[in-house]
């Protein structure tokens, strides 16, 4: 799946996007956050407080317990500050 990062999540990880294939036991958005956090110190830093991380699957907002199966593009970002 394609992962996208925005704002300080992007800065901390040091990547705009990447293609990753998490193992089968990673089923929800929060599982994916936990799995990513274990990939290295830059990921651990980005996801140090999962409560403030927002996510979208295929360009729609989702919740931590949303299943990721079938998602092609998953984005992680901080709370939005537009307008």
């Amino acid at each position: 799946m394609k992962l996208l990062y925005f704002a300080w999540v992007r800065e901390r990880i040091g990547k705009v996007e990447e293609e990753l294939h998490p193992p089968a036991e990673v089923t929800t958005v929060s599982d994916l956050v936990a799995w990513l956090a274990g990939r290295g110190e830059e990921y651990a830093y980005a996801f140090e407080n999962p409560n403030v991380i927002r996510a979208a699957i295929d360009r729609r907002h989702v919740q931590p317990d949303t299943l990721i199966a079938g998602g092609r593009e998953i984005a992680f970002f901080p709370p939005m500050t537009g307008g």
């Binding site: 996208l4 925005f6 704002a7 300080w8 979208a56 360009r59 729609r60 907002h61 984005a75 970002f77 901080p78 709370p79 939005m80 500050t81 537009g82 307008g83």
Partner: protein
């Protein structure tokens, strides 16, 4: 119903956009125009610039979903939403919402509804430049409260 949604780096002309929405129509009785502008201070500290980052694709789709919801809730005749991205300096336009309806209440409420959702649900992030450094702007609880009031309210 005329709907225009644009994300752009360039500036916009609020008066021209409002005029375009109502031009040639005699059934529109109210046009509300809201422009959000980059200001030179935040929490008592000087701000020299803002950079707006967005999620291309999702930003347009998310705004379109909220415009559709506004059209469902109020009898609107036209909506224009323009959101800029890139670096802006104090005095520069950031966002424009124009709503048109037969009567003022629908136009005022729909514009307010759209701005509350743009602030909290549209995928944009502000990076603030100050004299003492650069930081991502934190989301405000007052903005979450503002959007929550629409959840329990159906006109």
């Amino acid at each position: 119903m005329t709907t225009t949604i644009r994300l752009q780096r360039e500036d916009f002309d609020a008066a021209a956009e409002a005029g375009r929405l109502a031009r040639g129509r005699t059934d529109i009785g109210a046009v509300v125009t809201f422009a959000g502008i980059c200001r030179d201070h935040e929490d008592g500290r000087g701000v020299s610039a803002l950079t707006l980052e967005h999620y291309p694709g999702m930003a347009e789709e998310e705004i379109a979903r909220h415009v559709a919801e506004a059209e469902r809730r109020w009898p609107l005749m036209g909506v224009t939403v323009i959101h800029r991205f890139g670096r802006m300096q104090p005095g520069d336009n950031i966002v424009l919402v124009v709503t048109a309806s037969a009567h003022r209440q629908a136009a005022f409420e729909a514009a307010s509804f759209l701005m509350d959702y743009l602030k909290t649900r549209a995928p944009f992030w502000k990076l603030e430049e100050r004299l003492d450094g650069t930081d991502w702007v934190a989301a405000k609880e007052s903005d979450d409260d503002a959007v929550a009031r629409w959840d329990n309210q159906q006109p």
